[in-house]
């Protein structure tokens, strides 16, 4: 709120949490690397082995986790405003299904691993276009029709995914299942995700007040001077691109996009100008922590990070729902 503003403080705390999560994820693993040693590596010294481990394995993975979490948090917050439904998540419109069909199809065809993210991205965009086109219907789309179209298209993708899994040779199945649960061990490079996340996070700040008004309903928003349809299309395209990038980086990691904006709303109120950047930071911190757990909990066995986010997210979300009035 204007006047007494908890806004910079909240964002600073979340940024600090994100930095700590990244630091923790760098320090923890089969070879623990502690504070002074971490510092030495990043100032250009340190043990060459540690240096190699940090700079070419742990750091890219931590950055990929943070960016994916940030993308999902932001996409979830945007979808919730677009559909005016606090229970929407980035996958509610069938994006993850389209991405899964693309990625699994590529895996089934034996494509090299470098092609999988691209195939997932194309699948996600295809699903976006499909849902958007079908939801137009007679007389343009409404949130309800968009939601229902997305849910039905997602069910269709689900059937195709099952079909692809049944066709797949047994040795490819574990990789596919890990992908479906969301797994950062495939994350090759964090940079495409960051290249989308940073401009998107900056772009949504000036959209925030308009989204606050849009959350009150399209007619009221139009009467207050919001160009409703262009704003909705912008949000839809942006959220879809963010989700497609997240899915192609780490597979369909669940619950981050649903739980993060929801928890932030309970804690910080409902001003999108705060919630949107906060969702980026909190989503990034959460997924970085979850991935650290996924790497270390049953080491040397690695869990797909989606298992951790779901195991954390499901009870948290049920508790929030139970306690909400």
């Amino acid at each position: 709120m204007p006047g007494v503003s908890p806004r910079p403080l909240a964002l600073a705390l979340l940024a600090l949490a994100g930095a700590l999560a990244v630091a923790l994820s760098l320090a923890v693993g089969s070879v623990p690397i502690h504070g002074a040693e971490l510092w030495a590596v990043f100032t250009g010294g340190g043990d060459p082995l540690h240096r190699e481990l940090l700079l070419s394995l742990r750091l890219p993975r931590a950055l990929a986790a943070f960016a994916t979490g940030g993308l999902l948090g932001l996409a979830g917050a945007l979808m919730q405003v677009l559909l005016r439904n606090p229970l929407a998540d980035p996958y509610v419109l069938g994006l993850s299904g389209g991405a899964a069909v693309g990625a699994l199809g590529a895996m089934l065809l034996g494509a090299a691993a470098v092609w999988v993210p691209g195939a997932a991205f194309v699948g996600a965009l295809l699903s976006t276009v499909l849902v958007f086109g079908l939801a137009q219907g007679v007389g343009g789309w409404t949130p309800t029709r968009l939601l229902l179209t997305g849910v039905v298209v997602a069910a269709g993708w689900g059937a195709v995914v099952t079909f692809l899994l049944t066709l797949s040779p047994a040795e490819r199945l574990p990789g596919m299942l890990y992908w479906l649960m969301g797994d950062l061990s495939y994350a090759r490079s964090p940079w495409p995700a960051w290249l989308l996340l940073v401009p998107a996070a900056l772009l949504v700040v000036p959209l925030g007040r308009g989204l606050n008004v849009l959350a009150r309903g399209p007619l009221l928003a139009a009467s207050l001077g919001v160009a409703v349809r262009p704003l909705e299309i912008t949000v839809y395209v942006l959220a879809s691109a963010l989700t497609a990038m997240a899915v192609s980086t780490a597979g369909s990691v669940g619950f981050v996009g649903l739980v993060v904006p929801h928890m932030l709303r309970l804690a910080l109120g409902n001003d999108q100008r705060l919630i949107l950047p906060a969702s980026v930071l909190a989503g990034g911190a959460l997924l970085t922590l979850a991935d650290t757990l996924a790497r270390t909990l049953l080491a040397p066995q690695q869990l797909p990070v989606g298992v951790i986010t779901a195991l954390l997210g499901v009870p948290t979300f049920l508790l929030l729902l139970y306690r909400s009035r």
């Binding site: 709120m1 204007p2 006047g3 405003v81 005016r84 439904n85 606090p86 700040v205 000036p206 959209l207 007040r209 308009g210 606050n212 008004v213 959350a215 009150r216 309903g217 007619l219 009221l220 139009a222 009467s223 207050l224 001077g225 919001v226 160009a227 709303r265 109120g269 409902n270 001003d271 100008r273």
Partner: protein
């Protein structure tokens, strides 16, 4: 001088014939009441006047410029609409709700300044909801939410007020307070157009009336000329009796003569 004009306007009500196109001029300082039976299109007309619905034919001009040639933001700087019902997908506080009335005046990257906050707080005070400023609107009663909605429009500082049943959910005291507020706004040069189902509110507080008939016909004019019991009886399909209380006309449904009604046992 007019601020809001309709030229051969036919509002789009599905399944209804065009009726008679409406050519109406609303001048600053006038208080128009739009009367008609349920479903006649009072709300549709107000939404069309605000540019939220496309008319079937004709056009609406704001300050002599067709609405469709104006940006939504420009329209919102001049014209506010108080809706009959409202939805709250996400809870927000009363002060935040009043502040969104300032949205059309702020550039995207600007935050609400001290002046906006002052206007919002004054608007809440004018509607006697200052004490609720930090409450979530979803926790308010219907009448309180109605007053918050009017406060949002007040913070929007419009030259044209379109109010759809502004006294919805309000008790008598707040009905009078809201009508006085709208009259005071008109006294300062705003044009006010209200959709009303209560004939007596219209008779008491409007200086011009527009009567909408279910077949798409209409008539309009100064209130005293329009408050004709037989015309109003035809409007509502209900015989009316007029009395005068303190000089103001009051209409009550006429009691049909005993035995005149078919539906009695």
């Amino acid at each position: 001088m007019t601020v809001l004009t309709t030229q051969d306007l036919v509002i789009d009500i599905p399944g209804r014939a065009d009726g008679r196109p409406l050519t109406l001029r609303v001048a600053p300082g006038q208080r128009w009441g739009v009367l008609g039976p349920n479903g006649v299109g009072k709300t549709t007309l107000l939404h069309t006047l605000a540019g939220l619905r496309a008319p079937r034919a004709g056009r609406v001009l704001l300050d002599d410029t067709p609405l469709e040639a104006l940006k939504r933001k420009r329209v919102a700087q001049r014209l506010a609409l108080v809706f009959q019902d409202r939805q709250d997908g996400f809870p927000a506080t009363v002060l935040e709700t009043a502040l969104i009335g300032r949205h059309p005046f702020l550039a995207p990257w600007r935050r609400e300044g001290a002046e906006d906050l002052l206007l919002a707080r004054e608007a809440l005070a004018a509607l006697a909801v200052s004490h609720l400023a930090d409450r979530l609107v979803t926790t308010l009663s219907g009448g309180e939410r109605q007053r918050v909605a009017i406060a949002t429009a007040l913070a929007q500082t419009p030259s044209v007020w379109l109010a759809d049943e502004p006294t919805n959910h309000l008790d008598l005291h707040h009905q009078v307070a809201v009508m006085k507020l709208l009259r005071e706004r008109a006294g300062r040069g705003a044009a006010v157009v209200m959709g009303l189902h209560d004939l007596n509110l219209a008779a008491r507080w409007c200086d011009h009336l527009l009567l909408l008939y279910p077949d798409g016909q209409h008539c309009f004019g100064p209130a005293e000329a329009m408050l004709e019991p037989t015309a109003l009886a035809r409007l509502y399909g209900q015989p009316l009796t007029m009395a005068r209380v303190g000089g103001a006309p009051v209409f009550v449904p006429a009691d049909p003569a005993p035995g005149a009604s078919d539906d009695r046992p």
